[in-house]
Amino acid sequence: MNHTKKRIPLSFARFWAIVIKEFIQMRRDRLTFGMIIGIPVVQLMLFGYAINGDPKHLPTAVLLADNSQQGRSLLSALKNSDYFTFVREVKSEADADAALATGEVQFVVTIPENFGRTLLRGDRPTVLVEADATDPSATGNAIASLRTLLESALRQDLKGPLAFLAGSDGPVNLRVHARYNPEGISQYNIVPGLMGVVLTMTMVMITGLAITRERERGTMENLLSMPTRPLEVLLGKIIPYILVGYIQVGLILIAARFLFRVPMNGSIPLLMLTSLLFIAANLAMGITFSTLAKNQLQAVQMTFFFFLPSLLLSGFMFPFRGMPEWAQVIGEVLPLTHFLRVIRGILLKGNGFTEVVLQLWQIILFAAVVLTIGVKRYRRTLD
């Protein structure tokens, strides 16, 4: 065969026809176009100001067992420091444990009995700092600053004849307990968090397309002509994906256990219950996007509009307490924020129901509000 295949030459006119058509279609879909322009701007402002890898003002409790002047100096130095915010004084070891377990505080500083006396005797008393190290990046800088903080606090008290106490090793012995994740392995923090991130993305996306797909394929008209109620349709579309979500949970838990060796200190059934609520909350969000979006593209865009703050403001990628107040308020609304606290709490801290119940309520509240909007927005007619 030696006949050559005849090819039409590239035509500028045809290429240009496609360009023009694309522009016309882009202009017709105003919302999509607005989101293409608007989302980067909003997110630049949001994340540019919100994200901070060096969290300060971390909530700290103090167990003050010694009423000496030196002990009180330490306390007031903590109160005035940049990295620590004194929240309250705890009275016992059990109190301290509880405050760390619920995540109320990031640090507990224990100033032992006879601290002042031991110090003055020159015996270098031990100051114990217990840190919630589930997220190692949140505590690192604060712990690093501790030694200088203690020394400069005591310098005031150790003047003149006592100056020799502030010797080369420092006046006190600082002991840091990185609780829950003593080796500071970031996988222990990231892998459970990833479960939440993966669920957020897939669950919102899948259901986000659920109603818009019916509308785009023309099957919505048929569905609406049948005697159905909005709640039947919306719940009916949510339930199958809960199963899908559970499969994801199972896969990630198996990987966490056997590949990443993430400790599992708490109750797995409790984790499953939490996952159920979290999956439902995300599905409710997706189905509500679905009632708001005009087409599948818009639904996907809305998903990303929800997903990015979830990723960045929930405490998954950056320490939650590093963000400014307003960003924390936004973060508190997102179900992922609460889910992260629960899953890290259960797996790493061994939290039980009482420690996580507050977070569970916030996930339920989110799901209920969002689903209500979805049901209200679901149009029963084609108007």
Partner: protein, 308 residues
Amino acid sequence: MTVSFAIDVRGMTKRFGEQTVVNGIDLQVRSGEVYGFLGPNGSGKTTFIRMLCGLLAADAGEGTCLGLDVIRESESIKRQVGYMTQRFSFYEDLSIAENLDFVARMYAVENRREAVRDSIERLGLAGRQKQLAGELSGGWKQRLALAACMIHHPKLLLLDEPTAGVDPKARRDFWEQIHELAGQGLTFLITTHYMDEAERCDRLAYLSYGNLLTRGTAEEVVAGAGLTTWRVDGPDLQELARLLRGRAGVQQAVAFGTRLHVSGTDAAALERAIAPFLTERHSWQQIKPGLEDVFIHLMGSSKDNFSQ
């Protein structure tokens, strides 16, 4: 004997923004009747049907559908009405049996399995029930859609252009089925663009730009138009039509196959207008106007109130 109406509505109106798409339509459809709904594209037929079955909220109007209030009881109406959409609107990624089963569940049909099996058998699809709906040809899709919207034994069927894109044989079979079902007491409201289908309806209504222009049996509609029609045979009919159009008395000169139909409402004026053309070249014959003549006439005489 009192006549019972399956549909009895007055003043049905629907606006989309500034446009009045359905403008105060009154319609009575007797039980057991096959009612044809005609009119050009965009005349409001689909919108009117959607209001009847609660898919669109009417802006004005009142009346009953199957004895139920058409505005307030649309949920109950939906249970007793089968609506076949213009575009195939069942799930293409579900099989025939799965689609029917879904619909049967939605209407809480009693003895669901049996109803689905019967429906598949009646369709003549027993061997292909596992085939995906998306793989069916146009004619089979339409049969599936009809079977699906009848699975809950509705009393009234609203069929929106059920035979668009369906081959002549399938169309013929379809209409035979319609008349058989009408004989069993079902009521049909069917939109169509085909004249042969219009002629098979017991009664007709013609819509244009949201207004109901005429209604009645085919004879009544034709008689009501008061049209006189001449049929012309011969060569160069396009040229003849061009010459006739615009002459006083000639309201339309339209090709029907290889012939020309020349019509007007004033028989005397029409005769005067065509007199110069009654030559040996063409054979002229006055005929009884058909529905199509009347509908073309109606379409031409109603003005487009949407165009600016």
